[in-house]
């Protein structure tokens, strides 16, 4: 179990004044009796038969302490890391080639990728770590494994696709090296799948999860430019 706000546990110290106030407040009506001999026996018998009896007479105190405990736990925001979905350590391998600029789906594949990765990061537990590896223009580790999720998101937002084409395979080697360095770490590969052979290779990698974005669309743009010396013919 991890706590998003472990400092909230200091709130448990409030139990001390609660107990103190209870002790100071507790006033019982005093009754003079001929003997307490039999009442003592009755209490002892009941405690032996039902050990929780001794706590029953302080029920209001226990309810107060339970309420405090639940409040503090709520503030501490406990979570099971595995319940957050992704696991305790993740490497995001991002396809930053030029094809990610394509505007299908709208507004663009790249923005869809950013949105997807940001969602994944926010789903991480407070002590889960993640890294970002990019493929273009040259494969490199953009953000090394870190628990600083805001840093990951900032780096992701500042990133834009490269104007050049690139292959995911060299970057995959870098990502898988990070995966191999930590037991249980997995790689999430986010690409538009424009290179079917690369995508197929990714699927075959152990410890890698392939997420494809985008959809097929006709390319519209200048793919080749030829420059010649000389004037323009009239």
């Amino acid at each position: 179990v991890t706590l998003a706000n472990p400092l909230a546990l200091w709130g448990l110290l409030l139990a001390a004044p609660i107990v103190a106030l209870y002790v100071l407040r507790a006033t019982r009506r005093r009754v003079r009796v001929a003997t307490t001999m039999f009442w003592g026996r009755v209490l002892e018998q009941r405690r032996r038969a039902r050990p929780w009896e001794r706590f029953r007479q302080h029920a209001s105190l226990w309810w107060q302490l339970l309420a405090l405990l639940l409040l503090v736990l709520a503030l501490a925001d406990p979570a099971l890391p595995s319940a957050r979905g992704l696991g305790s350590s993740v490497v995001f391998l991002l396809d930053t080639s030029a094809s990610m600029r394509a505007r299908a789906p709208a507004p663009s594949r790249w923005e869809a990728l950013q949105s997807r990765v940001e969602g994944h990061v926010r789903a991480l537990g407070p002590f889960d770590e993640a890294a970002i590896v990019i493929s273009s223009p040259a494969p490199r580790v953009l953000v090394p494994p870190t628990q600083d999720h805001e840093r990951l998101i900032s780096a992701l937002r500042a990133l834009s696709p490269s104007p050049t084409e690139g292959s995911l395979l060299p970057a995959a080697e870098t990502a898988m090296a990070l995966v191999a360095a930590h037991a249980g770490r997995v790689a999430f590969v986010l690409t538009d799948g424009s290179d079917p052979s690369t995508a197929e290779a990714m699927r075959a990698m152990k410890g890698a999860v392939l997420e494809t974005l985008g959809q097929d669309a006709a390319n519209v743009g200048i793919t080749t430019l030829s420059v010649r010396r000389g004037g323009i013919a009239d």
């Binding site: 507790a26 307490t36 039999f38």
Partner: protein, 217 residues
């Protein structure tokens, strides 16, 4: 009348428990019973002495005959009870070589009640116990909720939460204890009569004075 058959030389000693636990209706019942026994004995020409037991013991004087000394008995039984129940027993066989009959009037509300009875059993003569109880107290009438009980004799404090179940358990505990006392007396050859201060004691007391009185009413 069994207790007051004419005897040549019999001394009747009435021991009255005047400890703090006897306060309230029990004390009224106890001194009424003690006075009745003393009066009937004096009428029967026995030599009678009443001993008030508190932190120690105090007698109305030497054992004496006749009704004229009864005023001293009433004076001795005046006032409120107080102090702890003594487990020391006064010398009951003192005052002559004649027959001894003693009567203890007490609630026996002391953890060492068996020691008290044992010491009395070792005394010479015929012994009887008038066990004064109060069933209203057994029932815990008036006790409800979170309470701090204070023992009248020891000052011991005990926190309880009184409810119907607790009170029922207390009543059962008291009844079992009183039955133990009765059984212990009968095993030891003592007469036993239980007097409930919550009820009029006249009839059971007269019945006991008039005839065989082993056991509880």
């Amino acid at each position: 009348v069994r207790l007051f058959e004419a005897r040549d030389d019999r001394t009747v000693r009435v021991l009255v428990d005047a400890s703090a636990s006897m306060q309230g209706p029990r004390w009224d019942a106890a001194r009424k019973a003690a006075a009745a026994v003393a009066w009937a004995s004096r009428c029967g020409l026995d030599r009678v002495q009443v001993v008030r037991l508190g932190d120690g013991w105090m007698a109305d004087g030497a054992p004496s005959r006749g009704r004229s000394g009864f005023q001293r008995v009433l004076q001795l039984l005046g006032g409120d009870p107080g102090g702890a129940t003594t487990t020391e027993v006064p010398p009951l066989s003192a005052g002559g070589a004649g027959e001894i009959l003693w009567v203890l009037v007490s609630d026996l509300l002391v953890p060492d009640w068996e020691i008290v009875l044992h010491r009395l059993m070792r005394q010479r003569g015929e012994g009887h116990v008038l066990h004064v109880i109060d069933r209203r107290e057994w029932d815990g009438i008036g006790l409800q909720g979170d309470l701090r009980l204070v023992d009248a004799e020891t000052g011991t404090e005990l926190d309880i939460t009184a409810d119907a179940r607790t009170r029922a358990a207390h009543r059962a505990c008291c009844e079992a204890w009183a039955d133990d006392v009765a059984a212990r007396c009968l095993r030891g050859g003592l007469g036993y009569l239980r007097l409930d201060a919550a009820q009029p004691i006249d009839d059971p007391l007269i019945a006991w004075l008039e005839g065989p009185s082993q056991g509880t009413p």
